[in-house]
């Protein structure tokens, strides 16, 4: 990186207040997220502020689908249990997976616009696949609220106030289809949640997840590379710094 660019970024950090940790907006509910600047240390930010700049491009991060912070934090906590932070690197939260899912639910994915959604809707056999009349957006909305009511039923607490073991117990009940949902099984909701979590961890950062390509970095996937023709025959494993479509 050129010194000029480095300075301008330092200025950017100063003006946005990220480095000083002063950027705290409204709705200060919820946990802390590790805020990784590319190639920099981790600054800690409160969760839930509006209009947070993500990188030097300055694209802000905010909810497009979920309407309140409690629901968004339930999504955050659930995805973090599915894909947790460990010594290999960040988990769902640190990778911005909840933002990825939120944004997907606000678009084509959430509205099932490329799927056949005409009735009549029958239950069908498992071999016949997804037969719900609900869109993914409707399933996630209901699912997140069900995670909360299940926490209240079992522990008289918000899902967000449970310890990890208790969250896992509830997620496992969803996975096994043991929680009653309307128009969809809890097992299908869990399947979608798990898949969306992995999609957010490993899709190109242009979609808002896989922050700083750390999902790819952990996995050893180099992302968008034009060619491997000179490396494909090499007997050694090739460690390649990842590249995003957005870096063009």
């Amino acid at each position: 990186m050129s010194p000029e660019k480095d300075i301008s970024r330092r200025d950017f950090l100063k003006t946005t207040g990220i480095a000083a940790g002063t950027l705290v907006g409204g709705g200060l509910i919820g946990g802390l997220v590790g805020y990784n600047m590319p190639g920099k240390g981790t600054a800690t930010l409160e969760h839930g502020q509006h209009g947070t700049a993500t990188e030097e491009t300055g694209s802000p991060k905010a909810k497009m689908f979920f309407m309140n912070q409690r629901d968004f934090n339930i999504l955050t906590n659930a995805t973090e249990r599915i894909f947790p932070e460990d010594d290999l690197g960040p988990g769902a939260k640190g990778l911005d997976v909840p933002y990825f899912i939120d944004h997907q639910l606000a678009g084509q994915y959430g509205s099932n616009s490329k799927e056949y959604m005409h009735g009549p809707f029958g239950e069908g056999a498992p071999t016949q696949g997804y037969q719900s009349r609900l869109t993914r957006a409707e399933i996630f909305k209901q699912g997140v609220q069900k995670l909360e009511s299940e926490a209240q039923n079992r522990y008289k607490k918000s899902f967000n106030d449970l310890d990890g073991k208790q969250m896992d117990e509830i997620l496992t009940a969803f996975q096994k289809g043991e929680v009653q949902m309307s128009g969809v099984t809890s097992a299908l909701f869990f399947t979608l949640l798990r898949a969306a979590t992995l999609e957010g961890a490993y899709s190109d950062p242009i979609y808002g997840g896989n922050r700083n390509m750390d999902g790819w970095r952990m996995k050893g996937f180099p992302g968008h590379q034009m060619t491997y023709i000179t490396q494909i025959e090499d007997p050694k494993f090739q460690k390649i710094e990842p590249n995003s479509l957005g870096s063009h």
Binding site: R81, I82, F83, P84, D86, L88, G91, Q108, Y109, N112, S113, K114, E115, Y116, M117, H118, P120, G122, G124, A125, P126, T127, Q128, G129, Y130, Q131, D168, L171, Q175, R194, T197, L198, E199, Y202, S203, D204, I206, Y207, G215, W216, M218, K219, G220, F221, P222, G223, H224, Q225, M226, T227, Y228, I229, Q231, I232, E233, D234, P235, F237, Q238, L245
Partner: protein, 570 residues
């Protein structure tokens, strides 16, 4: 009220591999051809941001939009068929090039045994090896008769390969380009296979190994091994597909009029001939009638069968009586194999759609089935197509599906695990067939195609046997853990398996057991042709496109011949 357009010599319904080949050959022969493609124009210039797993491989950006049309599915006649609401088991294409744009490019020729499967199976094992419920039949053409067409398709596509397969039918020429590069993973497989006295060879590849100019003057570029082939288009023009070969060839003649967003809803028939097709412009909503001297159905398996059914051409198959040929002999493929877990790290993320080493020792009738309760087999291969991080999360058995252990294991094994896969042949069964759904409709008000399909005892026995052979090779490769694929029970339309659907509009030697003759000409309607993998009387243990391309050249020859002489070609 539909607008009637000026008549042409030939109209093709769909412009992928088969439509492109028919259009190229007919327009070169001087016929005026209209190609009706219901999707959009699309080509190399549209694939510059193709290295996007989420958009293309997970959200299926270049696949069929099911909100407009899908199929319904049930495992057997006693079940209620329900719509396939999302793509899963197979990935239907849409747009110029069709499924041939997002293919991997493995380009095999079916075995000589395949084309005479009934005769040869009866000869080796007696007349009742599988029992009367299996509708085995010869194809109406032998391998040797089809050889020139295979040769032609390989030259058009510039297929890269070696000539080391001892089980291959006779070849008139070597592959047009040399084999793809050998990699450490593939070398390991090759060595293990040789140790086991098997006969490995490089997968014949349409991701070509060097810049190649085909006999029509079209150039295919050299593959860069970027790892984004299956489910993607190629940003280099290095994967042979209709839009970089036969379509430009047809357009160059000046005789080919290619129309997009043109969804055919009916084949028009008068007396014992067809007069053209009716289509909807999916952008304006206008209806058109395109009159033609010859109509060629060149869309995917399901749509070729559906158009014949909704246009009431031919007798629909009834499994209760065994009567009718339209919709009969639907086949798929089964996927035996074994996964290996290593401590050694491999460049699994690099690759090309048809970069691989395969063997046919357990394919076709290349091994003795006297003591086995199935026929045929499958090509066994290790391919290095480029694994991607969303889709590939391998973990040893008993690893939880989520949480800390899942994360750790799936990250560790992403570059330390791979599968040996086989493409298990699929035999026609009287209960596996295509029909019209009576409840669900497409965006144009037509019934959806209905698929009734389940795995059979033959499939289950084949799967178990071939999985064990794949596991043998994986053990010989030195994997620390080897997991053969789980035995199959009922067919499930949810997880991706393979886009190798076949049958329903079968080619045959006699009108009693097929829809088209061996020129792909309709048995009842002489100026109607239908060519797709639906023409296959069964599905072999290989990728279908090589054989499909050969049949498309055969069909094109038939259309040209018919346009000169008329009448039945057989």
């Amino acid at each position: 009220m539909a607008t009637t357009l000026p008549s042409v010599d030939v109209v093709t319904v769909g412009v992928g591999w088969t439509g492109g080949i028919v259009a190229a050959e007919c327009s070169k022969a001087g016929l005026k051809v209209v190609g009706l493609e219901r999707g959009q124009k699309r080509g190399t210039e549209d694939f510059q941001a193709i290295h996007d797993e989420y958009r293309y491989a997970i959200r299926y950006d270049i696949m069929q939009n099911l909100s407009k049309e899908t199929i319904t599915f049930r495992n057997n006649r006693n079940m209620k068929a329900l719509p396939m609401r999302q793509l899963g088991s197979f990935l239907l294409g849409e747009g110029l090039g069709g499924a041939g744009t997002h293919w991997n490019g493995m380009t095999y020729r079916f075995l000589p045994y395949d084309f005479q499967i009934k005769t040869l199976t009866d000869k080796h094992y007696g007349p009742n090896k599988l029992g009367p419920d299996y509708l085995l039949q010869d194809w109406g053409l032998t391998y040797d008769e089809l050889e020139p067409y295979f040769d032609k398709f390989e030259k058009t596509t510039g297929i890269s390969g070696d000539d080391k397969n001892p089980f291959s039918g006779k070849r008139s020429n070597p592959y047009p380009t040399g084999p793809m590069k050998m990699t450490p993973m593939l070398e390991k497989f090759e060595k293990a296979a040789k140790n086991l006295k098997l006969s490995p060879y490089m997968v014949p590849s349409a991701n070509v190994s060097e810049v190649y100019k085909n006999p029509d003057g079209e150039t295919i570029n050299a593959c860069q091994y970027c790892g984004f082939c299956e489910r993607f288009g190629c940003e280099y023009g290095a994967k042979s597909s209709a839009e970089i070969t036969v379509v430009p060839t047809a357009l160059k003649t000046g005789n080919f009029d290619l129309r997009y967003n043109a969804n055919v809803v009916e084949i028009l028939k008068q007396g014992n001939k067809v007069t053209g097709v009716k289509y909807v412009d999916t952008v304006s909503g206008e209806e058109f009638i395109q009159p033609a001297n010859v109509v060629v159905l060149t869309s995917y398996v399901f749509n070729n069968a559906k158009l014949l059914m909704v246009s009431k051409i031919g007798e629909r198959y009834d499994p209760a009586t065994g009567k009718g040929t339209l919709g009969r002999n639907y086949c798929y493929q089964i996927l035996p194999g074994a996964v290996g877990f290593f401590d050694e790290q491999f460049n699994t993320f690099m690759g090309a759609g048809s970069l691989g080493v395969s063997l046919d020792d357990y394919n076709g009738d290349n091994f003795d089935h006297s003591d086995l309760d199935f026929i045929h087999g499958g090509n066994i291969a290790l391919t290095q197509t480029g694994t991607r991080p969303i889709g590939s999360n391998p973990a040893p058995p008993d690893t939880p599906a989520w949480g800390p252990e899942f994360k750790k294991q799936s990250i560790y094994y992403y570059t330390r695990s791979f599968g040996i896969g086989a493409q298990g042949a699929s035999m026609p069964h009287k209960e596996n067939y295509l029909s019209l759904d009576s409840v669900y409709k497409d965006a144009y008000g037509l019934p959806l195609m209905q698929l009734t399909y389940n795995f059979t005892d033959q499939d289950r026995a084949l799967h178990k046997y071939i999985s064990a052979r794949a596991a043998d090779i994986m053990k010989e490769m030195g994997a620390k853990t080897v997991v053969p694929n789980a035995e199959i029970t009922d067919y499930n339309i949810v997880p991706y398996q393979t886009t190798h659907n076949t049958g329903g509009t079968v080619m045959s030697l006699k009108p009693e057991n097929g829809v088209v003759n061996n020129y792909l000409q309709h048995w009842d309607v002489e100026n109607l042709f239908a060519v797709s993998a639906g023409s296959f009387a069964h599905n072999s243990g290989y990728n279908p496109t090589g054989t499909l391309g050969a049949l498309a050249y055969r069909c094109a020859e038939g259309v040209v011949k018919y346009s000169k002489s008329g009448g039945s070609l057989v």
